[in-house]
Subunit: 453 residues, 2 copies
Amino acid sequence: MDISQEAPSERLKTLVATDPDAIDGYLATLSGAEVVRAMFRLESAERHAILRVVEPETAAEFIEDVPDEVAADLIEALPVEDAASIVTALPSHEQADVLAEVEDEDMDRILGAMAPESAREARELLGYDPESAGGLMVREYLAFGAGATARDVLEELTSGVRDLSPTLLQYAYAVEPDGTLAGVVRTRDLVAAPPESAIGSLMKRPTAVNAEADLATVDACLEESEVLSLPVTDDAGRLLGVVEREHVDDALVERASDDHLKSQGIVGGEELRSMPVAERSGRRLSWLSVNIVLNMVSVSVIAAFEETLAAVIALAVFLPIVSDMSGCSGNQAVAVSMRELTLGVVGPRDALRVWWQEAKVGVLNGLALGVLLGLAAWAWKGNPALGAVVALALALNTVVAVSIGGTVPLLLKRLGADPAVASGPVLTTVTDMCGFFLVLGIATLALGWLQPV
Amino acid sequence: MDISQEAPSERLKTLVATDPDAIDGYLATLSGAEVVRAMFRLESAERHAILRVVEPETAAEFIEDVPDEVAADLIEALPVEDAASIVTALPSHEQADVLAEVEDEDMDRILGAMAPESAREARELLGYDPESAGGLMVREYLAFGAGATARDVLEELTSGVRDLSPTLLQYAYAVEPDGTLAGVVRTRDLVAAPPESAIGSLMKRPTAVNAEADLATVDACLEESEVLSLPVTDDAGRLLGVVEREHVDDALVERASDDHLKSQGIVGGEELRSMPVAERSGRRLSWLSVNIVLNMVSVSVIAAFEETLAAVIALAVFLPIVSDMSGCSGNQAVAVSMRELTLGVVGPRDALRVWWQEAKVGVLNGLALGVLLGLAAWAWKGNPALGAVVALALALNTVVAVSIGGTVPLLLKRLGADPAVASGPVLTTVTDMCGFFLVLGIATLALGWLQPV
């Protein structure tokens, strides 16, 4: 399979150098996934050359298939006219998503080079949070006055004039002269209705979502109404667009994956290796440099116990283990809390209940891990007191770690911080400090039993 | 908002104790998300009591909304007759998903208590990987002989006899007498066709997916054909079912979130705090105990340098920092590789290219972090040699960490292992060993400059 995948990128390399006009035709023979894979195997100069020579529609199809931040990077690197025609060729909800990730200055230049009407629509959509109903909606839909007949709707539907997705063809919306959404009709019900009946007499009360509604709310509404799309309205009830389940699901997949990357310190939740090295390095470093300062804070606990360490040098071996194992236990609790937050099973107010459920697991796992490490320490140095010190320290710190890991995401959420980004650093800093303090503090108390006689 | 959410679980507590017959009616007034949140706020005994008294359809709606592993746990705890009626009430593709997570013994008992026809269908679906086209498909669809007329199809469609989802109503499939899929017709095209025309004359060649096709393939096919559902066939081309984009998207969201949990050592990728404590503890511990053994292996490097440590006790402070920072840098690279694997931008054969792209970032970030740590060490002990040792060690180990972090997921994938589970432990073990060796090895060489005169 991999061997056959090797070919398209090589072919593109050849075409870009020898026969650029043939690229459009060649890309049309590949699947979307093949185009993405092939394009990312090229050098960035080749990728730019291709985006400049192909038709804007071809470029837009590729841009649609890559994450928004990557799309923005690709677009920014192009001359502004090329960028503007590609953005214009994108579906309306994608335009705003990509432009939102472009630097403000470039965004203004690109919007300036677009047709005024397209630019105005894109600016309007840019006003919405990309994860809100307004940010996810498309502006294309079937809308009629309440006096239009079933025949009118079916004629427009079957004429093929309107290039709507299969989902958007399922519903027609009845709209008042002032733009207020009055009702919704399933187009398949129109088939069975008398051709001259007015859609005002066939329509049902619509379930609509407000343009400001967030991703979870839109998802829940779609789930509840068991429909494939919902009309989006403003506060006055005017129809603004339609949000499709497909785009909501895409946003949910994107968010789950972003959270994973953010939790590992990929700022913004998005990186592909096709981005410039300096940018990749800088984004990762911004998180790492916060982390290294936090690390220095936690190891200051070790520095305070230098005498104990000098007396029992073997303790130095156990500090990284206690730090790493507590971090692992705590991160498991963080991951479960993030999952439960996403599922809506817990909210910020459940911190106490979550703590209690984590504490129980912490005691069991702390005992098991503590005994294991204690026995290993005893066996290594033949000193049962050393075993007892590290066993007790790891057991206690495991309880601390899961307690913090379980509750910190909920508390961060309550404070309005992004739990995916901040939970890890908060967790490891506190558990490291506490773990070092427990190992060295207990060792200091037990110094008489620890030192060789 | 949280205050109003408090009510349903309290209400359910009261109803289960005083008026169990009213629970069905009460649950019907709540949204799916509200039911899930309320149910998970109850004690497990209360949850079971509710699942036993409500109608199987009500229970099935709730079971559908929770992750499969959790659903399986809930089902297993019920008497087998209750479990069987709830499973029967689930949509066909959900039945197999939930049963696949149930213990084998319980699965046989539940299937034994189901109606023979339902049990046979569920067993058939259980034969497929839950993330394959066969595992995702539903068995309900509109199929006709090629001789059926447009009128026949539209009559069945508008009769409302078939309770199909809006997606499934969009296509009718023409099937040969032996079950082979012959073609597909869009139901909305039938509206415009002469009522007596045979669907054999209207149908198009269908794009079908094989039942064994994996999630990525099915997703790519849906993406390419721009349809909401695809027919699923066996190797002989016989129509087995229909896979809907909605279920594929759900599976993708589930997988992204599972990968995140697995990478933190939640075995199986699924845990909710409603599961029994012993089970939660055991699953987490199985990963932690592998990790602690790997940790002992890595710190054995420190043990081998006890003399150097005894001579320069300040080094003990830097070992956890180098270990933690290298782990962070490496995990960023792992996260980006996991993301690129999911997007299909890289494959196992791209390891060398990925390594080179990571190495560049590693050199930049290693220098930045090394200099930062080195200056801190110099400032703390007033010893520039100490600063130089830790700076060099951290810089080199950062390059090692991102090289391993970027390539290990690709290599694990090639070996057929799950990169989400195994990348972290492999990464931290190797980078810890290497980091400890670099700090203490370089320090041993530079011992003359490090020791106080």
